[in-house]
């Protein structure tokens, strides 16, 4: 499975991602500069976290006009995989591949933390190695992660089972008390109706390298790695 990680000026999680996909999981991985226009041979396009174009105007707004974007739209339209993490999720909403918008956190603070999440769907290529409704732990690091959509859009997201991850407490309870940033319906990640495009604020790539386990991060987990192994597993199943 070949990963293509798009690098915008201001991206800063691109190498972390490559460390996981290539270094840990031994999948061919290419870093693709945003001025390029070719995604031939790429199976999974990843839009990494960071601050593309300095977050000027709005997070993700300017990345939308990068030359690589038309190739990403064509890739997505073929039903191929697109993953947007953090700033990548913001870009996916700005470009219209996912509905809604990500706004300033409710309490105006930049949140850097490790939080429990509920895996709402485990029937996707992204999540098939998780248990249904499993509570996992992933790092978040954002100032603009408050998911917003109008009520019709939110209803459609719920009707079409597009909510993939929700912020919850350690018991798996999704409540306003376990909502770090004011996101509607505690949304941490959503997909498109077909399920090939996933956007999420938490950082799976920061919880996927075994070298970080047993280090001073006592709360560290490998729960993010499961997202990547799910994807690889699903492609192996297709080959059989």
């Amino acid at each position: 499975m070949k990963f293509g990680i798009i690098v915008f000026p201001g991206s800063n999680c691109d190498r972390d991602l490559a460390t996981i996909t290539q270094g840990v999981l031994h999948q061919p991985t290419k870093l693709i500069w945003h001025q390029e226009s070719n995604l031939d041979g790429i199976d999974v396009v990843v839009l990494p976290g960071g601050f593309s174009y300095g977050d000027y105007l709005r997070c993700g707004a300017i990345a939308r006009f990068s030359p690589i974007m038309s190739a990403i739209l064509a890739h997505a339209a073929k039903g191929k995989y697109v993953l947007g993490i953090c700033n990548g999720f913001q870009i996916l909403t700005e470009v219209g591949l996912l509905p809604g918008a990500l706004m300033r956190n409710r309490d105006l603070d930049f949140i850097c933390d490790r939080l429990p999440l509920k895996v709402v769907r485990n029937d996707l290529a992204w999540t098939n190695q998780y248990a249904k409704a499993q509570t996992i732990s992933l790092p978040i690091a954002h100032g603009e992660g408050c998911y917003y959509a109008d009520s019709d859009t939110l209803e459609r997201l719920q009707d079409q089972d597009q909510i993939v991850f929700q912020y919850c407490d350690s018991m798996g309870e999704v409540s306003s008390a376990s909502n770090p940033n004011g996101s509607l319906a505690n949304i941490a990640g959503i997909c498109n109706p077909q399920g090939n495009i996933l956007g999420m604020m938490p950082h799976p790539e920061r919880a996927a390298d075994p070298i970080l386990i047993n280090s001073f991060y006592s709360k560290q987990s490998l729960d993010g790695g499961t997202l990547f192994t799910s994807l690889i597993k699903s492609s192996e199943l297709l080959l059989c």
Binding site: L57, F65, T93, L108
Partner: protein, 85 residues
């Protein structure tokens, strides 16, 4: 013709504005003669654009597209602009 435009981008009324709310409470906490009466604050963006177009209606059309495609995110924001030759 050269035109000068002033573009105002604001959050839709239905969208919460935590930054505006924080500014309002700061105003309410300062000298009560100055900020005591402030009932609401909405924080937005202001852009000054210089552009060249054949006439005013063409310039307005271009500005509408700039706003729709870049300056404002229609999910959360609305815009208006003023234009001068």
């Amino acid at each position: 013709m050269k035109f000068q435009a002033r573009v105002f981008v604001t959050l839709r009324p239905s969208v919460l504005d935590p930054a505006g709310t924080a500014i309002k409470s700061a105003l309410n906490q300062m000298d009560s003669k100055v900020g005591g009466g402030v009932e609401s604050v909405r924080l937005g963006k202001y852009l000054e654009i210089g552009l060249e177009a054949v006439n005013e209606s063409e310039a307005k059309q271009q500005l509408d597209q700039m706003c729709d495609r870049l300056f404002a995110n229609p999910v959360i924001e609305e815009y208006r602009f003023e234009i001068q030759a």
